[in-house]
Every structure is written in C-alpha cells, then in structure tokens.
C-alpha cells in the first residue's frame, strides 16, 4: 500500500473536537437525561453500549462463578463439592452463559455499539431503534435461558448433541429457546453494523480508510447475519425433538445425528470468529495507538478479517474428524482449516511489524496486547495442530481442545475485552483509572491464565477427556495446578472490578490520555449525545497517522 495524497494535510483542523477544550460546557451522553427512562428507552448507540456492558459483565460474573465451581470440583479425583448431575449442569451452563450471553455480544455489542458510529463519523447506527430492540431481545433470551437454568438446568453440554439432548430429562427446551431468541439479537446487531458501515461513513472515510476495528466488526457482522439463522433453525428442531419427538434426527427412523453436527458446526465454528474477530480489531487499534504507528500492512489486516470470516465458514468439519464423518470430507475441511490459520498469521506478523520503528508506551492496554499476542500465537497454532487431521484423533474432546479454545476465547477475546475496557474507559466515561493497579492486574491475569490452561494442554496430552466429573488419579496434580491458576485469574478480575469502579467515581478527568489519533478520539470524551458538537470532523488522514507534520508527507519507507 502506498500513502494516498490525502496524507499531505498535516495538522488538519478537527472541528468536532474544539468544544472539548473546556470541559463541562456541553452535555455528554452520560449527563443528557439522567432518569431511568432516559436510559431504558434510549436509542443512543453509546447508552445502549453501556447498558449492554452492565448486563454482559453480569453474565460474565455468572459464567465465571460456574467456572470456579468446576475448577473446585476438579480438585480431587472423586466428588468434591457437588454430585455428578450438578457438575454436568454446571459445565453446560458455564458454556452456554459464556458463549451466548458473554462472548458473542461482548465486544461487538458493547464496544462495537459504542465505537462504530464514532469511528465512522456518524451520529448513530443506521437503525437505532432496532439496536435498542436487540438489547431487549437479548435480555428476553437471557431471561428464558436463566429461567430454564433455575428450573433444573440442562446437562447436554453447550453443543446439544442429539440424541442425548432429545432424550435427557433435564430442562432443555427453555434454554434452547432462550439461545434461539438471543440469535435474533445477534442478527439485529450484525445487520445494523453492516448497513451502518455501508451507508453512514462520513465524507472522507473511504473503505480503506476505515479503522481496522470497523473492518473486524464488519466481518463479524457478516458471520452473525449468515450463520446465526442456521443455529436458530437447529435449536428449534432440537427443541421440537425434545418436546414432541419431531424426529428430524431420530436414529430409529433413519435420522442421522452426524447431520445435526454438520448443521451445528456450520454456525458454531464461524461463531468462534464472531468471538475472536472483534478481538483482533481491538488489538489493531491498540497496537497502533501505543506504538504511535500506522498499522503495518493495513490492507492485509483488513482483507484477512474478511478472509477469516469467509473461509471460517468452510472449516466446520474439523470438529467432526472422529464423529463418523467421511475421510474425504475430513481432508477437505482439514485443508480449509489451514487457510484460517494463514489469515491469522498475517495479522500476527503485521501487528509485530507495526511496532517496528514505532514508539512504544507500555501501559495497561499494551500489557494486554503482549499477553494477547502470545496467547493468539500459541492458541492459534494449537488450533492448527488439532485441525491436523491425524493429531485430532487422540486430542479430540480431551482437555487439549479445552485448553486450545480457552486460549483463543479467554486468551485472545478476554484479553482484548480487558484491553478494550482499559483503552476506551476514558473515551466512555472521561475518567482515568490507576495505571499501577492496571499493570498489576494485567500481570496477574496473564500469569493466572497461563497457570490455568497450560496444565490443561498437558492433561489433554495425557488423555483426560473433557466433561469428566471424576477422573483417574494420575490426572490430579495437573488439575490442582489448573485450579490454582484459575484462582489467580479470578483474583485479577476482582482487582480490576475494584479499581475501575473507583475510577468511575473518583477517577481523574481526562480527554485523550493516550494522544491517540484513532477516529473515535476526534470527539470529546465522553462524547456528546449526537457524537459531534458543531460541524462534523473531516478525515483528511487515515486513522493512526502519527507522522511528523513538519516533514510533510511523512517518511515512507518500505520494508
């Protein structure tokens, strides 16, 4: 890529930003209406984002408590604190809560909602009311799911494999129906983002000047729109199977449980990218900001997001290598899975390349970036390892797989979530948190995370299957190590909760503490209700353009 001529306008005036020089003279979105109603019925994308944050964090807490219960139970080979049935329900609920209620909405619905219009110079998303609707649909689905959990819960695992899910006596139907409803929320958000990206870009923001976060959200939205309906239908079919014996996958009548798995993974594999692509987007912003550099290979990173979204759809069969699927299909899906790895590798190399000749400031979000980088490389490459057809045979459904996807889900997505939380905290609330505590908790979390999941890789190697309530004694040492790590991790989260809450109230007022040149920082922090005061900002430069204005065009050097 070559710098376009528009780069030549150094030090451009940014009108939307002027009003922020004297704080308090314009109402921010936070102070514009303080009644409960003004929050609950708002169509402001920023407020919706914040409401999402409240709920999503609540569900993260619920899922986290489930996770800790699981880890405590696994301290000893036999029963520890609960019976087998409870354990089976708890791991199912941990999966469902974390995936459907936390992971999928986490970054897109909180940060995407908050930032997408800001990054595109728009006043709101294209369909603000649909946006609010998606929040309430999400809550309705969550309500259904929670109601089902309180009424006995279900023990199928989050994968709901038939025929077990069709026959189990636990409350499958309400939870599945809840997940089905949440699907609508996901679709609405996705539609909204795609349309917003297509139609609401401010003059000057061409496709290849969009922040990479937007590219990532765009790719994520495509997956949400195209994949979610399939799982919606499938959840309905399984619910019908469970309630009325509809018989679509009924083995006795020629139905095929492997067909269920095909349809399930057609959604659930791309769903992994719904969870991780926004994380990639967040990290592209953060690495650029903190090394004060334009992204190395912008187009490559942008295209690879779309590439992952597309190829990610056609790799689903690698979840089924030993499920009775044909050898031929295993080969096809095996090759396609490798391509996803290549796209991810492109991103990783370009992030590292961004730091080259940059000016790194090692603050909390960047600390998470470091953790993220390691976890993504390791998690991603172990992903390639389990997609390597013959290696999957011993690893399939063991703790190796558990560790791998937690490396991606927790290692990449939660690191990105925390990084985003710290990076955009000043943007959202105009307050700053305590940097020292930020670094301490980041260190704790990264350490705790490694201590939790690296033993699980080894457990998987040793052959411990997942979803085991009791296990042979030889696995105990590693399980204890993993539980110890999890406690460290939990402790890190508690510290974050404390200092961020403190910062919310007593934090120092700031506007752009990172001196970032991302588009979203062109407006005040916290932004005014309609995002910009006065005329809309112009966008003469690409985002994260840190070239010295005195040297004119900037020194362009090829590597």
């Amino acid at each position: 890529m070559t710098p376009s001529s528009s780069i030549a306008a150094p030090g451009a005036v940014v009108p939307g930003h002027e009003a922020t020089d004297d704080h308090g003279h314009h109402p921010s979105y936070l102070t514009d209406g303080t009644t409960v109603k003004s929050w609950l019925l708002t169509v402001d994308h920023k407020r919706i984002g914040i409401m999402y944050m409240v709920w999503v964090l609540l569900f993260f807490l619920v899922g986290g408590i489930f996770a800790m219960l699981l880890r405590i139970e696994l301290l000893t080979p036999g029963p520890t604190i609960m019976d087998a049935m409870t354990y089976n329900r708890v791991f199912t609920l941990h999966g469902i809560v974390m995936i459907f209620l936390f992971m999928i909405p986490a970054i897109p619905s909180i940060f995407g909602n908050f930032l997408l219009p800001l990054m595109l110079g728009a006043k709101d998303v294209a369909f603000p009311r649909l946006n609010l609707l998606s929040l309430y649909v999400y809550l309705a689905g969550a309500g259904f799911a929670l109601w089902g959990m309180l009424n006995g819960g279900l023990d199928t695992g989050w994968t709901f494999y038939t025929p077990y899910s069709a026959h189990t006596t636990t409350t499958v139907a309400p939870v599945l129906f809840g997940a089905f409803i949440i699907g609508f929320s996901s679709i609405l958000t996705g539609m909204n983002f795609i349309v917003t990206t297509h139609t609401m870009r401010a003059p000057g923001i061409t496709w290849f000047k969009m922040p990479l976060m937007v590219w990532a959200l765009y790719a994520t939205s495509c997956i949400q729109v195209l994949a979610t309906p399939v799982i919606g239908l499938l959840l309905l079919l399984v619910t019908a199977e469970n309630l009325f014996s509809l018989g679509m996958f009924d083995v006795a009548r020629g139905g095929d449980p492997v067909l269920f798995q095909h349809l399930f993974w057609f959604y659930s594999h791309p769903a992994v990218y719904i969870m991780v692509l926004p994380a990639f987007g967040v990290m592209s912003e953060i690495v650029a900001t903190f090394s004060r550099k334009n992204i190395f290979g912008y187009r490559a990173v942008a295209y690879s997001s779309v590439g992952i979204a597309f190829v990610g759809f056609f790799a689903w069969g690698h979840h089924m290598f030993v499920s009775g699927q044909s050898t031929f299909n295993a080969g096809v899906f095996g090759v396609l899975s490798m391509l996803v790895g290549v796209f991810t590798a492109i991103k990783v190399f370009n992030w590292v390349g961004t730091v080259y000749k940059g000016a790194v400031e090692f603050s909390t979000p960047f600390a998470y970036f470091c953790g993220f980088l390691f976890f993504t490389v390791f998690g991603g490459m172990t992903g390639i390892a389990v997609a390597t057809v013959s290696l999957d045979v011993p690893w399939h459904d063991t703790y190796f797989v558990v560790a791998h996807f937690h490396f991606i889900m927790v290692g990449a997505t939660i690191m990105a979530f925390l990084a985003a939380l710290h990076y955009w905290f000043p943007k959202m609330f105009g307050k700053m948190y305590h940097e020292g505590w930020g670094l301490v908790s980041a260190a704790l979390i990264i350490l705790g995370f490694n201590a939790t999941f690296i033993p699980q890789f080894l457990l998987g190697n040793a052959g411990m299957p997942r979803r085991y309530y009791e296990y042979p004694e030889r696995f105990q040492a590693l399980n204890v190590a993993s539980t110890a790590g999890a406690s460290l991790l939990a402790f890190g989260f508690i510290i974050i909760a404390v200092y961020l809450t403190y910062a919310l109230i007593y934090g120092e007022r700031v506007d752009n503490p990172w001196n970032s040149k991302g588009y979203e920082w062109l407006t005040a922090s916290p932004p005014p209700t309609h995002n910009f005061i006065g005329p809309q900002p112009t966008y003469p430069e690409e985002p994260h353009f840190y070239v010295d204005p005195n040297t004119g065009k900037g020194e362009v050097s090829d590597v």
Partner: protein, 146 residues
C-alpha cells in the same frame, strides 16, 4: 465522498419506473413454468427429475428476485448480499452431501441407499409387527377394542 456515492448510485438505480406490463409478463412466465414443472414432475423422470425441477425452480426464483424484488435494478451491496447467501446455502448442502456420499458405508443411516444395514424401522405394518414407532397409540386402540 464514498458515502454519497454508494447511496446516490442506489437511488439513481431505483429511479427508473417501468410499466405494469413487465410484471404481467413475469407473472405469466412464472405460471407457465409452474405448469411445465408439474408436467415434467408427473412423468417421474428417473434420475434427473429432481434436477430438472430444481433448475426450473431456480429460473422461477431468479425471475422473482430480479424483477419482483427489483434485484435487476440494484447494484453493489444488495446483490452481493443475495449472491453470498445463495453461495453459502449451496456450500452448506454440498459439503453435507459430500459427507454422506463418501462415508464408511456402515456409518450411514441403516436402510439408506448408502448403507448395507437393515433399517430399524421401515414404516408401519402391524401385520409384520412394525408400527412406525406408533406403538403407544396402537396399543391403546387395542385396549379400547377389547
């Protein structure tokens, strides 16, 4: 000025207004194709019957999408969205069928043409003791008769 361009182009495309005659023609063609597909369907062509029916259906579907839904006037994203969704449907079905066709034969559902196993249940026939899984009701009927 990307923003203006995309939406402006769209608006420009949609400005054209055609006479109602065009809709009538499409409608008639759709009805004729329906009759054709019923006719060929009733011939019960052995191998390519379904294929032919699907080709005709695709032609009909294309006509509906292009003219009733005005896709012929749309450009850019709208077309892309529709096209991509069709591609994904085809790939979903294609990969799944590929699996059934190439699987270890005994792993396919028993009684199917790709399996060597006998079917567990092949429909209702009380005389042979097969009840189509409808045992409960048959039993109850039995009891009420007695």
């Amino acid at each position: 000025m990307a923003i203006a361009n995309e939406s402006h182009q769209e608006e420009h495309n949609m400005q054209e207004h055609h006479g109602a005659g065009r809709y009538v023609v499409i409608w008639v063609v759709l009805l004729v194709l329906t009759l054709v597909t019923v006719f060929t369907g009733r011939m019960h062509l052995p191998d390519f019957g379904l294929l032919l029916a699907l080709v005709i259906a695709s032609v009909k579907g294309t006509l509906v999408a292009l003219y009733f839904m005005h896709l012929s006037e749309h450009r850019g994203a709208n077309r892309l969205v529709f096209g991509v969704s069709i591609v994904f449907v085809v790939l979903l079905i294609g990969f799944t069928l590929m699996d059934f066709g190439t699987r270890f034969r005994l792993a396919n559902p028993p009684g199917s043409q790709y399996s060597d196993l006998q079917a567990v249940d092949i429909g209702a026939n009380p005389a042979e003791g097969r009840t189509g899984g409808h045992q409960q009701q048959i039993k109850q009927q039995h009891e009420t008769h007695e």
